[in-house]
């Protein structure tokens, strides 16, 4: 079980939330190339280590927030509302 700290509901089982993926900076729509859009939409680093990702509290307060999670140990730090 992965415990994810929701800013409103507190620690919840990850099955109560949805991991919406790594946080990726959105490119400038006016200047981005097709390659940059493709990278933004489809490509992720997927490291075995610390990653910043967005979660959605779907069973609870329905808030999106970001955390840093170690994908190897599931340790969590750096909670932030989005």
């Amino acid at each position: 079980m992965i415990l994810v700290p929701c800013p409103n509901c507190g620690p919840r089982n990850s099955s109560d939330l949805r991991n919406t993926g790594e946080v990726v900076p959105r490119p400038d729509a006016a200047t981005a190339s097709l390659s940059e859009w493709r990278s933004y939409l489809y490509l992720r680093d997927n490291p075995a280590g610390w990653v910043t990702e967005t979660w959605y509290c779907r069973s609870g307060c329905r808030t999106y927030f970001t955390i840093e999670r170690n994908t190897a140990t599931n340790e969590v730090r750096g909670l932030e509302r989005t």
Partner: protein
């Protein structure tokens, strides 16, 4: 808002254990009004309840802080109009009657927490969810809004979900109550 005849999703009568230690009843026909708006709007100030808590108004309406910036008002059947009109609607506020869109059941009695704990993933201990607590979680794998609304000193929970899950939820919770002496009526079994 006009009152429309309510047709409940659950066609079972209330179920009880012979010793009265647990009662499960369909309360889907209760008035349910959803209010969304910022806490600093007139509605937010009027409702006075933070996320995760509830209070009963003098007119009997139970005001539940169901999400940040969202409240659910519960009352006896047929009161949608007056409940909705009691909320100040100035500013960016949305008031919607969701009576017909949600199923609701009440589980009460000293064994209620034991039966509910079998199918709910939220900690039902007093220090985590005291009387008046409002929380959301999975009940029999259905996402539900729950309110602890004790009656006469006994545990009592209101559980609401999307209307289309109502019959299944009632059956699943009734099934969890069988261990505590509730007889499952024919046709309600989920097995």
């Amino acid at each position: 808002m006009s009152e429309i005849d309510f047709r409940g999703p659950v066609d079972s009568v209330a179920l009880s254990a012979p010793d009265g230690a647990i009662t499960l009843a369909d309360e889907s026909s209760c008035t349910k009004v959803l209010v969304r708006g910022a806490r600093k709007t007139a509605a937010g100030i009027h409702l006075k309840v933070t996320y995760g808590r509830s209070r009963r108004r003098k007119d009997g309406v139970l005001v539940c802080g169901s999400r940040p910036g969202e409240w659910t008002l519960l009352a006896e059947p047929g009161r949608s109009g007056d409940v909705a009109e009691s909320i100040p609607s100035e500013g960016f506020v949305s008031i919607v009657d969701i009576t017909h869109g949600r199923a609701m059941l009440r589980i009460s009695g000293r064994d209620a927490v034991g039966a509910l704990a079998k199918v709910c993933n939220v900690d039902l201990a007093d220090d985590m969810t005291p009387d008046g607590a409002v929380f959301s979680g999975s009940v029999a794998k259905v996402t539900c809004d729950l309110v602890r609304d004790d009656r006469d000193g006994e545990r009592s929970y209101l559980i609401s979900c999307e209307r289309s899950f109502g019959r299944y939820l009632f059956s699943a919770v009734a099934d969890a109550c069988v261990e505590f002496g509730v007889d499952m009526p024919p046709g309600l079994s989920i097995h």
